[in-house]
């Protein structure tokens, strides 16, 4: 059996992927955000990038707070505006800086649109920093994105625990089933306070 989607050297290459509107949006906006911050995409869009048959309104993204300053946020806002984007829940850069500094999320979309949007927030918890540190590089259609590794995505989705989240976890687990490092996965589950025996029944393909 040939596996068509693989992780190698911390990279995933999706050759000949037909780009949907979410992919095009993510590539455009994260190219800008990536100039100012180290970022990693977490949440449902990662499952979608890996083929899940659903959509989402927002692309959850963590940034490293080390680069956070009012000047960086000002320049980010300028560049977003020049490229046709707006931050619709904090429209002035000074309030955007306050949002990020206080652990709140910025929502960025195309000007005068709301959906889709990127939900941008600073890493705060140890698992957030671990996700940034171990991010994967994903290539598709001339675009490069940084995404959370499957073990962290699965653990976090199991932690959230809704039907949609468990489905995302199962999807990622089954797409990468031979590549999943079970000890690493269990380590992240332990960081999040998940008892493996509570969720092991879901992790089969």
């Amino acid at each position: 059996m040939i596996v068509m989607i693989e992780i190698k050297d911390n990279r995933v290459i999706l050759e000949k992927k037909v780009m949907n509107v979410l992919d095009k949006f993510a590539c455009e906006i994260l190219r800008i955000i990536g100039r100012f911050f180290d970022y990693v995409i977490v949440g449902g869009y990662v499952a979608i990038l890996f083929g899940r048959s659903r959509t989402t309104e927002d692309i959850d993204t963590l940034i490293h707070p080390d680069a956070l300053s009012i000047d960086v946020v000002r320049r980010l806002y300028e560049e977003l505006e020049e490229n046709g984007f707006w931050c619709f829940n904090a429209q002035k850069y000074a309030s955007g800086f306050e949002y990020l500094k206080n652990g709140l999320a910025l929502r960025i979309a195309r000007i005068n649109e709301i959906i889709p949007n990127v939900e941008l927030k600073c890493a705060k918890k140890p698992i957030d920093f671990e996700t940034l540190k171990s991010r994967l590089t994903l290539y598709m259609g001339g675009c490069r994105l940084y995404v959370c590794p499957p073990e962290i995505c699965i653990a976090y989705k199991l932690y959230l625990g809704s039907q949609k989240d468990i489905e995302d976890a199962v999807h990622i687990f089954c797409v990468f089933k031979d590549k999943i490092k079970l000890n690493t996965l269990r380590g992240y589950m332990s960081m999040l306070g998940i008892d493996y025996s509570d969720v092991s029944r879901f992790l089969r393909c």
Partner: protein
């Protein structure tokens, strides 16, 4: 929450994941594009409504997270 998971829906997820794993991205992403593009095309672009829905969803989520985590069955 975990005891309410619909296993039948998970079976479909496993079925689709197998297709993603074993076929060219061009095959599955073409179908995925139809689903995603059509859903987002019909999205309501209302800022106040969107932020209100997100705030309520966050409050509900926080409330659920306060409850003791149920063990699987």
């Amino acid at each position: 929450m975990l005891e309410d998971i619909d296993e039948e829906r998970l079976e479909f997820v496993r079925f689709w994941a197998k297709i993603v794993r074993e076929t060219e991205p061009e095959y599955w992403s073409r179908q995925q594009k139809i689903l995603i593009d059509s859903a987002l095309k019909s999205a309501i672009q209302n800022r106040d409504l969107y932020l209100k829905v997100k705030r309520i969803a966050r409050e509900i989520h926080q409330e659920i997270r306060k409850r003791p985590r149920s063990r699987g069955v």
